[in-house]
């Protein structure tokens, strides 16, 4: 086949214009990611999908597949980098898995397990962040936001509302809400929005359904996050 590259020395076909991540997904090969979801504009900020392309680090979600490329995905060195990234996201926010209703359906937690994170390693930054419980149907816990901007993109590009944005620089970067009060209840947001569905962690939560699925029966309780590649889609994480 003409349009072919390799991932960990295995040949992988691709369609012109496809990114490495898309081609890998189509071929049932798992590359970890947090800020990527197939329906949305590429972001490339979380860096979880970092791979080696002909020996150089690249983000698989933004880097186009090309004929003859040699891509390394599963190496001890890359796995260590991914573990550090997960640890950094953990210490950056306030993530207490046992008390989080997203536990078992949280991609950050699942990646912690996937990359054998046994401790946060870095000193926790314990930021002082709030909760927005103003909306009748949805709660936002900013303590858990990892700045993947999936809600930003979903609201802007799919819902056509631009409810969310990121403001601030560096460690002060944070999610803000487009409403006169800055509260979600006063925004154009609705529970039926796509933006209500996309949060990979426990930052945007629907009220009243938190424990509809018991802990233990949730997607990543049943199988590891890397198993998603076999079904070529992201498991239901509602």
């Amino acid at each position: 086949m003409d349009n072919e590259f390799t991932i960990d020395e295995q040949p992988v076909p691709f369609k012109p214009g496809q990114t490495i991540l898309e081609a890998a997904k189509a071929a049932g090969i798992y590359i970890p990611h947090l800020c990527f979801q197939a329906d949305f504009k590429r972001h490339g900020g979380c860096k979880m999908c970092t791979v080696l392309v002909n020996g150089r680090t690249q983000t698989a979600c933004t880097h186009k597949a090309a004929v003859g490329q040699e891509v390394d995905v599963n190496t001890p060195e890359l796995d260590a980098m991914r573990r550090s990234l997960v640890q950094m996201l953990f210490v950056e926010g306030n993530h207490f898995c046992p008390g989080c209703e997203k536990s078992g359906a949280c991609q950050l937690q699942a990646l912690g397990y996937e990359y054998e994170m046994m401790s946060p390693h870095f000193v926790e930054l314990y930021p002082s962040r709030g909760v927005d419980a103003s909306h009748p149907d949805v709660l936002i816990d900013f303590n858990r936001c990892i700045l993947c901007e999936l809600c930003v993109r979903a609201s802007r590009d799919v819902d056509g509302k631009e409810v969310f944005a990121v403001a601030g620089r560096g460690l002060d970067a944070h999610l803000i809400i487009n409403s006169p009060t800055g509260k979600l209840v006063d925004s154009a947001f609705a529970v039926t929005d796509r933006a209500a569905e996309v949060c990979p962690v426990g930052a945007i939560l629907k009220k009243g359904v938190g424990f509809a699925t018991a802990i233990g029966d949730r997607p990543y309780d049943r199988e590891s996050i890397s198993a998603e590649a076999e079904s070529c889609e992201i498991p239901e994480v509602r």
């Binding site: 860096k47 980098m81 000193v123 803000i176």
Partner: protein, 594 residues
Amino acid sequence: MAMNSDVVGRALARHRADPTRLLQILREVQEELDWIAPETARDIADGLGVPITRVQSVVQFYSFLYDKPRGRYRVLFSDNITDRMLGNAALFEHMLKRLKLRRGQTSWDGAASVDLTSCTGMCDQGPAILVNNFAVTRLTRKRVDEICELIRIGAPLGEWPAEFFHVDDNIRRRETLLTPLEPGAALDAAIARGRQGMMDEMKRSNLRGRGGAGFPTGTKFEGARNAPGATRYIVCNADEGEPGTFKDRVLLNSFSTRVLEGMAIAGYVVGATKGFIYLRGEYRHLQEQLQRDIDSMRASGRLGASIRGAPGFDFDIEIHMGAGGYVCGEGTAQVESLEGKPGRPRVRPPSMVSVGYLGKPTVVDNVETLAHCTEIAIEGGASFARRGTKTSTGTKLVSVSGDCERPGIYEYQFGVTIGRILQDCGAGPVTAVQIGGASGVLITPEEFSRRIAFEDVSTAGAFMVFGPDRDIFEVARNFAHFFAHESCGFCTPCRVGTAIQRNIMDKIAEGRGSNYEVNDLKRLAEFMKRTSHCGLGETAGNAVRDALNKFRPAFERRLRARDFAPAISLEAALEPARRITARDDAEAHLDVEG
């Protein structure tokens, strides 16, 4: 006093309510109203027809825009390591004491606030501050007292003594670039060569980008020229934010003819009719003067339609001001900022030469790079290429500061040794030189025979000299703080990694670090280099890594013998209790640091 809505209305009208002008609008409004109040932000958002969040994102991204009152006099102390070496810390404390303020706090009467900021590009005449973004140089205790008094009586900035705002060029050595250019001569030469002829000369010159990356300028011009589409842009990157660099300030101040005509020549070659100068907010003092230079160029037919009578040679230049943000020196972040957005670097590819400003082919080049185009136009590429080395042609401006007798701007042909520069600037015994600023490399005496060139020590020209009494650990710690402050926050490794690096350096500085932290610092530097989204994160660990590799004892004498010390400090944890009980006696402190 002007109604806030009038101020907003006028700013919106000046910028035709164009959302891509958001940053410019915010800057201009703040110059009149001192801060961006929530109702001001709302008026601007409504006037532009954009969500309020877009205004908030921009205000909160840039250091010099405020969404909280910061006083009528906003004083920012430049906090580069060179300012530290000149004693800025004591002056900072002195001013805080005189004005009865804490860092970052606004005085009760709304008069003033005093804070720190990243390098303001006055390293050769520091310690420096900015007052409402205007540079004040050569700060002394006496000058601090005078400023406090002017603030106390509420004297308008325009009535402060002119010598406070005096900025010297301090040109110490010239070759070909730092020589006067007869207005129009370079343009005429380029026109005589024709667009393709001038392009050929650019390539023949082998001119490479002076911002530090060294990309061949002719190749960049050609890429933009050949990109599909009718509209193209030239951007002059004057966001000289690398700590220790100040050459572009001097070029814009005294050699603007070279810079502006260089931009026009770039436009001629590339087929662009519009150019922007992205001038860093710290160089606010140059804005009006540069605007006058542009206006007089236009009046004399060196800008505008049919420049120098050449049919079809249309080019004009507009100044866009930055507002505090080192990352905006990165080309794609700069273009985002030009579009009125937060300066977050874009995903590449596509490259700027095909999809840049407003999605059009764009050339972003350093001030110095564009200025060199005038030399190439006049003398031709082959002649230009005879200076310097084979792969690093022409001359380079070096910004020298730190422990030496003659800080300032030195022009050399590429290939000059570090030792020669040290000799010329009157440096005594030297412990190390930081070349290329915070993102650059730390050079020790055994390397002083190395050369400034893309093939050896590649640099945008910052050259900070550290004498025998300087503590290289503190140099690295200063840079670690710089990167944590300047990270844009887009990607995980840089956003979190720079903060962790800063915290570890602080822990070691407090005498509570161990080998565990040292090992983590090494891993962090490599990790950020490999995984970050742009050059900021990629280089954020360089200074700490170099200091560790070359000045290990500076770290070791601070370390504890143990393998590990906890992050928490019992002594520091008692501080809230001391504050609540208003105690600061010996009994309220631990004898032995926990």
